[in-house]
Amino acid sequence: MPILQIDHLKKYYGQTEPVVKALDGISLTVERGEFVAIVGTSGSGKSTLLHMMGGLDRATSGKVFVGGNDIFAMNDEALTIFRRRSIGFVFQHYNLIPILNVYENIVLPIELDGTRVDKDYVERIIRALGLKDKVHQLPSRLSGGQQQRVAIARALATKPSLVLADEPTGNLDSKTSQEVMILLKQVSEQFGQTIVMITHNEDIAQTADRIIRIEDGKIAMRPETSGKRGV
Protein backbone atom coordinates (compact mmCIF):
# COMPACT_ATOMS: atom_id res chain seq x y z
CA MET A 1 0.00 0.00 0.00
CA PRO A 2 1.43 3.39 -0.94
CA ILE A 3 1.92 5.77 1.97
CA LEU A 4 0.38 8.63 0.02
CA GLN A 5 -2.21 8.38 -2.69
CA ILE A 6 -3.86 11.28 -4.44
CA ASP A 7 -6.87 10.73 -6.71
CA HIS A 8 -8.00 13.32 -9.23
CA LEU A 9 -7.47 16.19 -6.84
CA LYS A 10 -9.03 19.50 -7.84
CA LYS A 11 -8.99 22.85 -6.11
CA TYR A 12 -10.91 25.70 -7.72
CA TYR A 13 -11.14 29.20 -6.30
CA GLY A 14 -14.24 31.29 -7.01
CA GLN A 15 -17.79 30.19 -7.83
CA THR A 16 -18.37 32.18 -11.01
CA GLU A 17 -16.32 32.55 -14.17
CA PRO A 18 -13.42 32.98 -14.34
CA VAL A 19 -12.74 30.12 -11.93
CA VAL A 20 -9.10 29.91 -10.83
CA LYS A 21 -7.96 26.32 -11.15
CA ALA A 22 -5.10 25.95 -8.65
CA LEU A 23 -5.15 22.17 -9.01
CA ASP A 24 -6.79 20.58 -11.98
CA GLY A 25 -7.03 16.81 -11.57
CA ILE A 26 -3.81 15.58 -9.99
CA SER A 27 -3.21 11.90 -9.34
CA LEU A 28 -0.03 10.50 -7.90
CA THR A 29 1.25 7.95 -5.43
CA VAL A 30 4.26 7.95 -3.14
CA GLU A 31 5.69 4.71 -1.81
CA ARG A 32 6.98 4.19 1.70
CA GLY A 33 10.53 5.46 2.16
CA GLU A 34 10.57 7.49 -1.04
CA PHE A 35 12.00 10.99 -1.22
CA VAL A 36 9.96 12.89 -3.80
CA ALA A 37 10.50 16.43 -5.01
CA ILE A 38 7.63 18.40 -6.51
CA VAL A 39 8.95 21.12 -8.76
CA GLY A 40 7.10 24.01 -10.30
CA THR A 41 7.23 27.75 -10.81
CA SER A 42 5.38 30.00 -8.40
CA GLY A 43 1.69 29.85 -9.15
CA SER A 44 1.92 26.35 -10.59
CA GLY A 45 -0.15 24.97 -7.71
CA LYS A 46 2.60 23.09 -5.93
CA SER A 47 2.03 24.82 -2.59
CA THR A 48 -1.70 24.17 -2.79
CA LEU A 49 -0.93 20.52 -3.48
CA LEU A 50 1.31 20.29 -0.42
CA HIS A 51 -1.35 21.91 1.75
CA MET A 52 -3.86 19.33 0.53
CA MET A 53 -1.50 16.46 1.36
CA GLY A 54 -1.14 17.80 4.86
CA GLY A 55 -4.85 18.38 5.31
CA LEU A 56 -4.23 22.09 5.85
CA ASP A 57 -6.83 22.89 3.23
CA ARG A 58 -9.78 21.02 1.74
CA ALA A 59 -10.18 20.18 -1.93
CA THR A 60 -12.99 21.02 -4.32
CA SER A 61 -13.07 17.38 -5.39
CA GLY A 62 -10.82 14.34 -5.30
CA LYS A 63 -9.30 12.39 -2.47
CA VAL A 64 -6.08 12.20 -0.50
CA PHE A 65 -5.13 9.02 1.35
CA VAL A 66 -2.30 9.12 3.87
CA GLY A 67 -1.38 5.62 5.02
CA GLY A 68 -4.77 4.40 3.79
CA ASN A 69 -6.77 7.07 5.65
CA ASP A 70 -9.06 9.28 3.60
CA ILE A 71 -8.09 12.58 5.22
CA PHE A 72 -10.94 14.67 3.79
CA ALA A 73 -13.44 12.26 5.35
CA MET A 74 -12.28 13.26 8.82
CA ASN A 75 -13.83 16.06 10.82
CA ASP A 76 -11.66 19.04 11.76
CA GLU A 77 -10.76 17.78 15.22
CA ALA A 78 -9.83 14.28 14.05
CA LEU A 79 -7.83 15.80 11.20
CA THR A 80 -5.88 18.03 13.59
CA ILE A 81 -4.95 15.07 15.77
CA PHE A 82 -4.15 12.94 12.74
CA ARG A 83 -1.92 15.68 11.35
CA ARG A 84 -0.06 16.10 14.63
CA ARG A 85 0.69 12.39 14.82
CA SER A 86 1.18 11.35 11.21
CA ILE A 87 2.61 14.30 9.36
CA GLY A 88 5.82 16.19 10.03
CA PHE A 89 6.16 19.65 8.53
CA VAL A 90 9.31 21.50 7.54
CA PHE A 91 8.69 25.11 6.53
CA GLN A 92 10.75 27.67 4.66
CA HIS A 93 10.90 29.93 7.73
CA TYR A 94 11.77 27.10 10.17
CA ASN A 95 8.95 28.15 12.59
CA LEU A 96 10.95 27.37 15.71
CA ILE A 97 9.79 28.69 19.08
CA PRO A 98 12.35 31.38 20.04
CA ILE A 99 12.08 30.95 23.83
CA LEU A 100 12.62 27.17 23.77
CA ASN A 101 16.05 25.64 23.30
CA VAL A 102 16.89 23.24 20.48
CA TYR A 103 15.98 20.08 22.38
CA GLU A 104 12.71 21.51 23.68
CA ASN A 105 11.80 22.59 20.16
CA ILE A 106 12.47 19.12 18.81
CA VAL A 107 10.33 17.28 21.38
CA LEU A 108 7.55 19.90 21.46
CA PRO A 109 5.20 18.07 19.04
CA ILE A 110 5.59 14.87 21.08
CA GLU A 111 4.74 16.69 24.28
CA LEU A 112 1.81 18.45 22.64
CA ASP A 113 0.45 15.04 21.83
CA GLY A 114 0.82 14.13 25.49
CA THR A 115 2.96 11.09 24.83
CA ARG A 116 6.31 10.16 26.24
CA VAL A 117 9.50 11.08 24.39
CA ASP A 118 11.42 8.12 22.96
CA LYS A 119 14.79 9.42 24.09
CA ASP A 120 16.89 6.89 22.14
CA TYR A 121 15.19 7.77 18.91
CA VAL A 122 15.36 11.52 19.40
CA GLU A 123 19.02 11.24 20.26
CA ARG A 124 19.71 9.29 17.08
CA ILE A 125 17.99 11.96 15.02
CA ILE A 126 19.94 14.70 16.77
CA ARG A 127 23.20 12.92 16.07
CA ALA A 128 22.29 12.21 12.45
CA LEU A 129 21.62 15.90 11.91
CA GLY A 130 24.83 17.00 13.62
CA LEU A 131 23.04 18.92 16.38
CA LYS A 132 24.57 17.10 19.33
CA ASP A 133 26.47 20.05 20.78
CA LYS A 134 23.69 22.54 19.99
CA VAL A 135 20.83 21.03 22.01
CA HIS A 136 20.95 23.61 24.81
CA GLN A 137 21.14 26.67 22.59
CA LEU A 138 18.33 28.98 21.64
CA PRO A 139 17.33 29.05 17.96
CA SER A 140 18.29 32.72 17.62
CA ARG A 141 21.94 31.82 18.17
CA LEU A 142 21.97 29.35 15.28
CA SER A 143 22.67 29.89 11.59
CA GLY A 144 19.87 29.43 9.06
CA GLY A 145 21.14 26.01 8.09
CA GLN A 146 21.31 24.90 11.70
CA GLN A 147 17.80 26.20 12.38
CA GLN A 148 16.46 24.26 9.45
CA ARG A 149 18.21 21.12 10.71
CA VAL A 150 16.41 21.61 14.04
CA ALA A 151 13.13 21.92 12.15
CA ILE A 152 13.89 18.67 10.29
CA ALA A 153 14.67 16.93 13.59
CA ARG A 154 11.36 18.21 15.00
CA ALA A 155 9.47 16.90 11.97
CA LEU A 156 11.06 13.45 12.35
CA ALA A 157 10.81 13.16 16.13
CA THR A 158 7.16 12.05 16.16
CA LYS A 159 7.95 9.19 13.73
CA PRO A 160 5.36 10.49 11.26
CA SER A 161 4.13 8.52 8.25
CA LEU A 162 5.00 11.41 6.01
CA VAL A 163 7.25 14.48 6.16
CA LEU A 164 6.12 17.43 4.06
CA ALA A 165 8.75 20.05 3.33
CA ASP A 166 7.67 23.39 1.91
CA GLU A 167 10.62 25.08 0.16
CA PRO A 168 12.94 23.93 2.97
CA THR A 169 15.94 25.68 1.47
CA GLY A 170 14.13 28.82 0.35
CA ASN A 171 15.89 30.99 2.91
CA LEU A 172 19.36 29.46 2.62
CA ASP A 173 22.32 30.19 0.37
CA SER A 174 23.11 27.59 -2.27
CA LYS A 175 25.99 26.03 -0.34
CA THR A 176 23.93 25.51 2.83
CA SER A 177 20.93 24.41 0.75
CA GLN A 178 23.00 21.63 -0.74
CA GLU A 179 24.08 20.46 2.71
CA VAL A 180 20.54 20.50 4.08
CA MET A 181 19.37 18.48 1.09
CA ILE A 182 22.08 15.87 1.60
CA LEU A 183 21.09 15.55 5.25
CA LEU A 184 17.42 15.26 4.32
CA LYS A 185 18.31 12.51 1.86
CA GLN A 186 20.46 10.72 4.43
CA VAL A 187 17.87 10.79 7.22
CA SER A 188 15.24 9.64 4.74
CA GLU A 189 17.39 6.59 4.03
CA GLN A 190 18.57 6.00 7.57
CA PHE A 191 15.14 6.18 9.20
CA GLY A 192 13.10 4.91 6.23
CA GLN A 193 11.22 8.20 6.29
CA THR A 194 8.96 9.18 3.41
CA ILE A 195 9.54 12.78 2.38
CA VAL A 196 7.66 14.98 -0.06
CA MET A 197 9.32 18.30 -0.75
CA ILE A 198 8.26 21.19 -2.90
CA THR A 199 10.75 23.55 -4.45
CA HIS A 200 11.16 25.81 -7.45
CA ASN A 201 14.86 25.00 -7.60
CA GLU A 202 15.70 22.25 -10.10
CA ASP A 203 19.21 21.89 -8.78
CA ILE A 204 17.96 21.25 -5.23
CA ALA A 205 15.41 18.74 -6.52
CA GLN A 206 18.16 16.59 -8.06
CA THR A 207 18.89 15.09 -4.66
CA ALA A 208 15.45 13.45 -4.52
CA ASP A 209 14.66 9.90 -5.67
CA ARG A 210 11.94 11.14 -7.99
CA ILE A 211 10.98 14.51 -9.43
CA ILE A 212 7.38 15.43 -10.23
CA ARG A 213 6.82 18.60 -12.24
CA ILE A 214 3.66 20.66 -11.81
CA GLU A 215 2.53 23.17 -14.42
CA ASP A 216 -0.78 25.08 -14.27
CA GLY A 217 -2.21 22.72 -11.68
CA LYS A 218 -1.41 19.58 -13.66
CA ILE A 219 1.41 17.08 -13.62
CA ALA A 220 3.67 17.93 -16.52
CA MET A 221 4.38 14.91 -18.65
CA ARG A 222 8.04 14.57 -19.29
CA PRO A 223 9.85 11.32 -19.84
CA GLU A 224 11.69 11.02 -16.57
CA THR A 225 14.42 8.51 -15.86
CA SER A 226 12.25 7.35 -13.00
CA GLY A 227 12.56 4.57 -10.52
CA LYS A 228 14.50 5.11 -7.36
CA ARG A 229 17.54 7.17 -8.05
CA GLY A 230 20.86 5.73 -7.19
CA VAL A 231 19.87 2.23 -6.24
Partner: protein
Protein backbone atom coordinates in the same frame (compact mmCIF):
# COMPACT_ATOMS: atom_id res chain seq x y z
CA UNK B 1 -10.83 -2.05 5.62
CA UNK B 2 -10.17 -0.92 9.14
CA UNK B 3 -12.77 -1.14 11.83
CA UNK B 4 -12.83 1.85 14.15
CA UNK B 5 -13.66 1.52 17.81
CA UNK B 6 -16.37 3.93 18.91
CA UNK B 7 -15.03 6.93 20.85
CA UNK B 8 -15.64 6.30 24.56
CA UNK B 9 -14.16 9.03 26.78
CA UNK B 10 -17.14 11.50 26.85
CA UNK B 11 -19.61 8.89 28.14
CA UNK B 12 -17.18 7.59 30.69
CA UNK B 13 -16.56 11.01 32.24
CA UNK B 14 -20.36 11.27 32.76
CA UNK B 15 -20.35 7.96 34.58
CA UNK B 16 -17.54 9.27 36.77
CA UNK B 17 -19.53 12.38 37.75
CA UNK B 18 -22.58 10.21 38.58
CA UNK B 19 -20.33 8.13 40.85
CA UNK B 20 -18.92 11.24 42.56
CA UNK B 21 -22.43 12.71 43.00
CA UNK B 22 -23.78 9.51 44.53
CA UNK B 23 -20.76 9.32 46.84
CA UNK B 24 -21.22 12.89 48.14
CA UNK B 25 -25.01 12.47 48.47
CA UNK B 26 -24.52 9.26 50.46
CA UNK B 27 -22.15 10.95 52.93
CA UNK B 28 -24.33 14.01 53.34
CA UNK B 29 -27.42 11.83 53.79
CA UNK B 30 -25.70 9.60 56.33
CA UNK B 31 -24.41 12.57 58.36
CA UNK B 32 -27.84 14.16 58.22
CA UNK B 33 -29.42 10.95 59.52
CA UNK B 34 -26.84 10.61 62.31
CA UNK B 35 -27.31 14.27 63.30
CA UNK B 36 -31.07 13.77 63.37
CA UNK B 37 -30.86 10.68 65.60
CA UNK B 38 -28.21 12.23 67.88
CA UNK B 39 -30.46 15.24 68.41
CA UNK B 40 -28.13 17.80 66.77
CA UNK B 41 -25.43 17.27 69.40
CA UNK B 42 -22.52 19.71 68.43
CA UNK B 43 -19.78 17.19 69.32
CA UNK B 44 -21.34 14.50 67.17
CA UNK B 45 -21.64 17.17 64.43
CA UNK B 46 -17.87 17.86 64.47
CA UNK B 47 -17.09 14.15 64.44
CA UNK B 48 -19.36 13.76 61.42
CA UNK B 49 -17.67 16.62 59.57
CA UNK B 50 -14.27 15.10 60.31
CA UNK B 51 -15.53 11.71 59.17
CA UNK B 52 -16.85 13.15 55.93
CA UNK B 53 -13.64 15.04 55.24
CA UNK B 54 -11.46 11.99 55.86
CA UNK B 55 -13.69 9.88 53.65
CA UNK B 56 -13.51 12.42 50.83
CA UNK B 57 -9.73 12.64 51.13
CA UNK B 58 -9.43 8.88 51.06
CA UNK B 59 -11.67 8.72 48.00
CA UNK B 60 -9.62 11.43 46.29
CA UNK B 61 -6.38 9.61 47.06
CA UNK B 62 -7.78 6.39 45.66
CA UNK B 63 -8.85 8.09 42.44
CA UNK B 64 -5.43 9.67 42.05
CA UNK B 65 -3.64 6.38 42.54
CA UNK B 66 -5.88 4.72 39.98
CA UNK B 67 -5.27 7.53 37.52
CA UNK B 68 -1.54 7.36 38.03
CA UNK B 69 -1.61 3.64 37.53
CA UNK B 70 -3.51 4.07 34.27
CA UNK B 71 -1.01 6.72 33.17
CA UNK B 72 1.88 4.39 33.99
CA UNK B 73 0.27 1.64 31.96
CA UNK B 74 -0.13 4.05 29.06
CA UNK B 75 3.52 5.00 29.39
CA UNK B 76 4.56 1.38 29.24
CA UNK B 77 2.33 0.91 26.22
CA UNK B 78 3.98 3.85 24.48
CA UNK B 79 7.37 2.47 25.34
CA UNK B 80 6.41 -0.94 23.94
CA UNK B 81 5.19 0.64 20.73
CA UNK B 82 8.33 2.77 20.44
CA UNK B 83 10.36 -0.39 20.76
CA UNK B 84 8.19 -2.04 18.14
CA UNK B 85 8.47 0.92 15.74
CA UNK B 86 12.24 0.97 16.00
CA UNK B 87 12.56 -2.60 14.83
CA UNK B 88 11.11 -4.92 17.43
CA UNK B 89 13.23 -4.44 20.53
CA UNK B 90 11.82 -5.67 23.82
CA UNK B 91 11.29 -2.90 26.37
CA UNK B 92 9.71 -4.91 29.21
CA UNK B 93 10.73 -7.76 31.43
CA UNK B 94 8.69 -10.93 31.04
CA UNK B 95 5.99 -10.66 33.69
CA UNK B 96 2.61 -12.24 34.24
CA UNK B 97 0.68 -9.12 33.18
CA UNK B 98 -1.63 -8.35 30.27
CA UNK B 99 0.85 -5.68 29.11
CA UNK B 100 3.66 -8.17 28.86
CA UNK B 101 1.58 -10.56 26.79
CA UNK B 102 0.48 -7.63 24.66
CA UNK B 103 4.12 -6.83 23.98
CA UNK B 104 4.69 -10.44 23.06
CA UNK B 105 1.89 -10.23 20.48
CA UNK B 106 3.16 -7.00 18.99
CA UNK B 107 6.67 -8.36 18.63
CA UNK B 108 5.29 -11.55 17.11
CA UNK B 109 3.41 -9.48 14.57
CA UNK B 110 6.55 -7.56 13.67
CA UNK B 111 8.47 -10.79 13.37
CA UNK B 112 5.92 -12.11 10.90
CA UNK B 113 5.90 -8.99 8.79
CA UNK B 114 9.66 -8.75 8.70
CA UNK B 115 9.97 -12.36 7.55
CA UNK B 116 9.22 -11.38 3.99
CA UNK B 117 11.89 -8.71 4.03
CA UNK B 118 14.40 -11.14 5.43
CA UNK B 119 13.63 -13.60 2.64
CA UNK B 120 14.31 -10.91 0.07
CA UNK B 121 17.53 -9.91 1.79
CA UNK B 122 18.65 -13.54 1.92
CA UNK B 123 18.01 -13.92 -1.80
CA UNK B 124 20.01 -10.79 -2.50
CA UNK B 125 22.84 -12.02 -0.35
CA UNK B 126 23.01 -15.35 -2.11
CA UNK B 127 23.22 -13.47 -5.40
CA UNK B 128 26.07 -11.40 -4.07
CA UNK B 129 27.79 -14.52 -2.74
CA UNK B 130 27.46 -16.07 -6.18
CA UNK B 131 29.09 -13.07 -7.82
CA UNK B 132 31.82 -13.18 -5.23
CA UNK B 133 32.41 -16.92 -5.76
CA UNK B 134 32.52 -16.60 -9.52
CA UNK B 135 34.98 -13.74 -9.35
CA UNK B 136 37.25 -15.58 -6.94
CA UNK B 137 37.15 -18.83 -8.89
CA UNK B 138 37.96 -17.15 -12.20
CA UNK B 139 40.94 -15.27 -10.80
CA UNK B 140 43.49 -18.09 -10.97
CA UNK B 141 42.67 -19.39 -14.46
CA UNK B 142 42.72 -15.83 -15.69
CA UNK B 143 46.14 -15.11 -14.24
CA UNK B 144 47.33 -18.27 -15.94
CA UNK B 145 45.96 -17.11 -19.29
CA UNK B 146 47.77 -13.79 -18.84
CA UNK B 147 50.97 -15.55 -17.83
CA UNK B 148 50.97 -18.05 -20.71
CA UNK B 149 50.05 -15.50 -23.33
CA UNK B 150 53.05 -13.50 -22.09
CA UNK B 151 55.26 -16.55 -22.46
CA UNK B 152 53.81 -17.31 -25.89
CA UNK B 153 54.64 -13.79 -27.04
CA UNK B 154 58.29 -14.43 -26.20
CA UNK B 155 58.58 -17.43 -28.49
CA UNK B 156 60.99 -16.16 -31.21
CA UNK B 157 59.83 -18.31 -34.17
CA UNK B 158 56.24 -17.00 -34.00
CA UNK B 159 54.77 -15.69 -37.23
CA UNK B 160 53.54 -12.06 -37.37
CA UNK B 161 49.95 -13.14 -37.72
CA UNK B 162 50.18 -15.35 -34.65
CA UNK B 163 51.84 -12.53 -32.73
CA UNK B 164 48.84 -10.31 -33.43
CA UNK B 165 46.49 -12.95 -32.09
CA UNK B 166 48.54 -13.24 -28.94
CA UNK B 167 48.44 -9.45 -28.51
CA UNK B 168 44.63 -9.52 -28.75
CA UNK B 169 44.41 -12.33 -26.22
CA UNK B 170 46.60 -10.34 -23.83
CA UNK B 171 44.57 -7.17 -24.23
CA UNK B 172 41.24 -8.88 -23.73
CA UNK B 173 42.44 -10.81 -20.69
CA UNK B 174 43.74 -7.61 -19.14
CA UNK B 175 40.26 -6.15 -19.54
CA UNK B 176 38.69 -9.21 -17.98
CA UNK B 177 41.20 -9.05 -15.15
CA UNK B 178 40.25 -5.45 -14.38
CA UNK B 179 36.55 -6.32 -14.41
CA UNK B 180 37.01 -9.24 -12.05
CA UNK B 181 39.17 -7.26 -9.68
CA UNK B 182 36.49 -4.55 -9.44
CA UNK B 183 33.81 -7.17 -8.85
CA UNK B 184 35.84 -8.72 -6.05
CA UNK B 185 36.36 -5.30 -4.49
CA UNK B 186 32.70 -4.53 -4.84
CA UNK B 187 31.47 -7.77 -3.32
CA UNK B 188 33.87 -7.29 -0.42
CA UNK B 189 32.53 -3.78 0.11
CA UNK B 190 28.91 -4.89 -0.12
CA UNK B 191 29.20 -7.88 2.15
CA UNK B 192 31.02 -5.76 4.71
CA UNK B 193 34.19 -7.82 4.45
CA UNK B 194 36.09 -4.57 4.14
CA UNK B 195 35.35 -2.30 7.05
CA UNK B 196 35.60 1.34 6.18
CA UNK B 197 37.24 3.14 9.07
CA UNK B 198 36.30 6.78 8.93
CA UNK B 199 38.45 8.97 11.14
CA UNK B 200 38.97 12.69 11.40
CA UNK B 201 42.02 13.25 9.20
CA UNK B 202 43.54 16.03 7.10
CA UNK B 203 42.29 15.93 3.53
CA UNK B 204 45.37 17.12 1.64
CA UNK B 205 47.34 13.82 1.90
CA UNK B 206 44.29 11.91 0.64
CA UNK B 207 43.92 14.22 -2.36
CA UNK B 208 47.65 13.97 -3.09
CA UNK B 209 47.48 10.19 -2.90
CA UNK B 210 44.67 9.99 -5.45
CA UNK B 211 46.31 12.48 -7.80
CA UNK B 212 49.69 10.73 -7.68
CA UNK B 213 48.09 7.51 -8.94
CA UNK B 214 46.63 9.16 -12.04
CA UNK B 215 49.42 11.65 -12.74
CA UNK B 216 51.28 9.43 -15.24
CA UNK B 217 48.18 8.74 -17.34
CA UNK B 218 47.18 12.40 -17.31
CA UNK B 219 50.61 13.52 -18.41
CA UNK B 220 50.59 11.03 -21.26
CA UNK B 221 47.43 12.67 -22.57
CA UNK B 222 48.70 16.17 -21.85
CA UNK B 223 46.01 16.87 -19.27
CA UNK B 224 46.92 19.20 -16.40
CA UNK B 225 45.62 18.54 -12.87
CA UNK B 226 45.28 21.38 -10.38
CA UNK B 227 44.51 20.87 -6.70
CA UNK B 228 43.14 23.62 -4.45
CA UNK B 229 42.88 22.75 -0.78
CA UNK B 230 43.84 24.73 2.30
CA UNK B 231 46.32 22.79 4.43
CA UNK B 232 44.12 22.89 7.55
CA UNK B 233 41.06 21.20 6.00
CA UNK B 234 40.09 17.98 7.76
CA UNK B 235 37.18 15.62 7.18
CA UNK B 236 35.81 12.44 8.66
CA UNK B 237 36.96 9.86 6.12
CA UNK B 238 38.88 6.67 5.52
CA UNK B 239 42.01 7.99 3.75
CA UNK B 240 42.78 4.80 1.82
CA UNK B 241 39.28 4.18 0.48
CA UNK B 242 38.50 7.83 -0.10
CA UNK B 243 41.67 8.12 -2.17
CA UNK B 244 40.44 5.11 -4.15
CA UNK B 245 37.07 6.78 -4.71
CA UNK B 246 38.68 10.06 -5.80
CA UNK B 247 41.04 8.13 -8.04
CA UNK B 248 38.06 6.55 -9.81
CA UNK B 249 36.67 10.03 -10.47
CA UNK B 250 40.03 11.34 -11.70
CA UNK B 251 40.46 8.30 -13.91
CA UNK B 252 37.09 9.00 -15.54
CA UNK B 253 38.00 12.67 -15.92
CA UNK B 254 41.17 11.72 -17.78
CA UNK B 255 39.47 9.01 -19.82
CA UNK B 256 36.62 11.19 -21.08
CA UNK B 257 38.72 14.30 -21.78
CA UNK B 258 40.47 15.10 -25.04
CA UNK B 259 44.24 15.54 -24.95
CA UNK B 260 45.17 19.01 -23.71
CA UNK B 261 42.23 19.29 -21.31
CA UNK B 262 42.45 20.23 -17.66
CA UNK B 263 41.14 18.90 -14.35
CA UNK B 264 40.70 20.96 -11.19
CA UNK B 265 40.12 19.55 -7.76
CA UNK B 266 38.82 22.01 -5.16
CA UNK B 267 38.11 21.33 -1.49
CA UNK B 268 36.00 23.71 0.59
CA UNK B 269 34.66 23.36 4.12
CA UNK B 270 30.99 23.99 4.80
CA UNK B 271 28.87 23.82 7.92
CA UNK B 272 28.43 20.05 7.90
CA UNK B 273 30.35 18.74 4.93
CA UNK B 274 33.65 19.26 3.17
CA UNK B 275 32.92 19.52 -0.52
CA UNK B 276 35.47 18.30 -3.05
CA UNK B 277 34.71 19.31 -6.63
CA UNK B 278 36.41 17.50 -9.46
CA UNK B 279 35.84 19.50 -12.63
CA UNK B 280 36.96 18.30 -16.04
CA UNK B 281 36.77 19.51 -19.62
CA UNK B 282 35.54 16.19 -20.97
CA UNK B 283 32.56 15.05 -23.00
CA UNK B 284 30.03 15.78 -20.25
CA UNK B 285 26.83 13.95 -19.23
CA UNK B 286 23.25 14.60 -20.33
CA UNK B 287 20.99 15.73 -17.48
CA UNK B 288 18.75 12.68 -17.90
CA UNK B 289 21.75 10.52 -17.06
CA UNK B 290 22.97 12.35 -13.95
CA UNK B 291 21.38 9.84 -11.61
CA UNK B 292 21.87 6.82 -13.82
CA UNK B 293 25.67 7.05 -14.06
CA UNK B 294 25.95 5.94 -10.44
CA UNK B 295 24.06 2.71 -11.09
CA UNK B 296 25.79 -0.62 -11.27
CA UNK B 297 26.86 -1.55 -14.83
CA UNK B 298 25.29 1.59 -16.30
CA UNK B 299 27.10 2.87 -19.36
CA UNK B 300 26.05 5.89 -21.31
CA UNK B 301 25.46 5.19 -25.01
CA UNK B 302 27.85 8.06 -25.71
CA UNK B 303 30.75 6.26 -24.06
CA UNK B 304 30.64 3.21 -26.32
CA UNK B 305 34.03 4.04 -27.84
CA UNK B 306 35.68 4.27 -24.43
CA UNK B 307 36.74 1.28 -22.40
CA UNK B 308 34.96 0.44 -19.17
CA UNK B 309 32.26 -1.70 -17.66
CA UNK B 310 30.21 0.78 -15.63
CA UNK B 311 31.38 -0.09 -12.15
CA UNK B 312 33.71 2.76 -11.23
CA UNK B 313 31.11 5.33 -10.19
CA UNK B 314 29.00 2.72 -8.44
CA UNK B 315 31.96 1.62 -6.32
CA UNK B 316 32.84 5.26 -5.66
CA UNK B 317 29.37 5.97 -4.39
CA UNK B 318 29.38 2.86 -2.21
CA UNK B 319 32.65 3.94 -0.61
CA UNK B 320 31.40 7.47 0.03
CA UNK B 321 27.98 6.59 1.44
CA UNK B 322 29.58 4.00 3.72
CA UNK B 323 31.32 6.85 5.52
CA UNK B 324 28.35 9.22 5.71
CA UNK B 325 29.24 11.07 2.54
CA UNK B 326 27.42 11.83 -0.66
CA UNK B 327 28.21 12.29 -4.34
CA UNK B 328 26.47 14.17 -7.13
CA UNK B 329 27.21 15.36 -10.62
CA UNK B 330 26.34 18.32 -12.72
CA UNK B 331 27.45 18.81 -16.27
CA UNK B 332 27.13 20.67 -19.52
CA UNK B 333 27.39 18.11 -22.35
CA UNK B 334 30.36 18.91 -24.56
CA UNK B 335 31.95 21.26 -22.03
CA UNK B 336 32.70 19.08 -19.06
CA UNK B 337 31.40 17.59 -15.82
CA UNK B 338 31.73 18.48 -12.15
CA UNK B 339 31.58 15.61 -9.69
CA UNK B 340 31.00 16.87 -6.14
CA UNK B 341 32.02 14.68 -3.24
CA UNK B 342 30.71 15.53 0.23
CA UNK B 343 32.42 14.20 3.34
CA UNK B 344 31.24 14.93 6.88
CA UNK B 345 33.35 17.56 8.65
CA UNK B 346 33.07 15.79 11.99
CA UNK B 347 32.85 12.14 12.92
CA UNK B 348 30.28 10.66 15.25
CA UNK B 349 27.05 11.23 13.37
Amino acid sequence: MNRHLPPKPPRRSRIYSIYAGAFVLLIVGYIGAVAYFAGFEPRAGWASVLFALLLLMLGGALVRTLKREAADEMDTLHSIMDGALSGGTRRMEYTDTPLSSFEQKILRYIELSSNQEQKLAAEQNSMKALISDISHQTKTPLSNIILYSGLLEEVPELRDEARQYVASIKEQSAKLDWLIRSLVNLSRLETGMIAIQAVSAPLMPTLTRSVSQIYGKAEEKGIGIEVECLPGVTACHDPKWTAEALFNLLENAVKYSDPGGSITMTARTGEMFVRIDIADTGIGIEESEWAAVFRRFYRSPRTARYEGVGLGLYVTRQILTAQGGYIKVSSVPGEGSVFSVFLPVECGR
